[in-house]
Symmetry: C2
Subunit: 116 residues, 2 copies
DNA sequence: TCTATTGTTCGATAGTAATCAAACTTTAGA
DNA sequence: TCTAAAGTTTGATTACTATCGAACAATAGA
């Protein structure tokens, strides 16, 4: 397996983080990780196919938002809370609160349920 | 002159806001507006040509982040603080604090000075 | 060893976007 | 009425991206 690149704490850039979080599917991924904690890709209900999930998780990982840990055939994802809080205090919290109370989140979660 | 579209408070969406703020030049525009208050486009020192500024200010306006007021040949820009705070409490503050203390901001401000 | 599971890679498609230069519009003021 | 100033529009370029399906790789377990 390829080595999974994770940027150093100091190499996490605001514009990349905001870009990564500007996609609804990626917001849903992060919101779910925040809600249920570390999870395998496949355990997160998402309204897109596997290869698209890979694309999004790579975007989030390379932006420094999530950490990917390989175990067997699975990839476990978790939020890099400490690093994000260190770099951008309060940012993730306000974004997730806004997302979780949005219509957009509700619609996506429903789309994900219908895909199952 | 065309009518300038501004989304209603309730039509401001998180992903559009994050997308609009994921561009360094647009972050600089918002940061400058926050620092010096309402300003004409041309009074904000930016490292890009006029037509590109128009593009970026339209993106910010259509995302609901800034308001554009026409007066004479000028367009005065200001941040929609109340609407943003209502929709996404704490978000803009944490983004601007992160940006203002970043290397990225320093570099852009220097590039803008050299363009003058 | 064979197979099912989990996720990645690759190729294609269709859409979007950041940038610039050049031409244009609108307005203020001489 | 002319002209200069401030932005906008348009067209071109270049680059990226969200998505899917199909083929692939790696691993756990029977």
């Amino acid at each position: 397996m390829k080595l999974l690149y994770h940027p150093d704490r100091e190499e996490i850039h605001l514009s990349s983080v905001l870009y990564a979080l500007s996609d609804p599917v990626r917001l849903l991924i992060v919101s779910e990780l925040s809600r249920i904690g570390e999870s395998a890709c496949g355990d997160i209900g998402l309204p897109v196919v596997k290869s698209t999930v890979t694309h999004h998780t790579r975007t989030l990982r390379e932006a420094g938002i999530i950490r990917t840990r390989a175990q067997g055939t699975q990839r476990f994802l978790s939020i890099r809370r400490d690093d994000l809080e260190y770099r951008f205090p309060g940012l993730l919290t306000s974004i997730l609160e806004a997302f979780d109370s949005s219509e957009e989140a509700a619609k996506l979660r429903e789309a994900a349920r219908n895909e199952e």
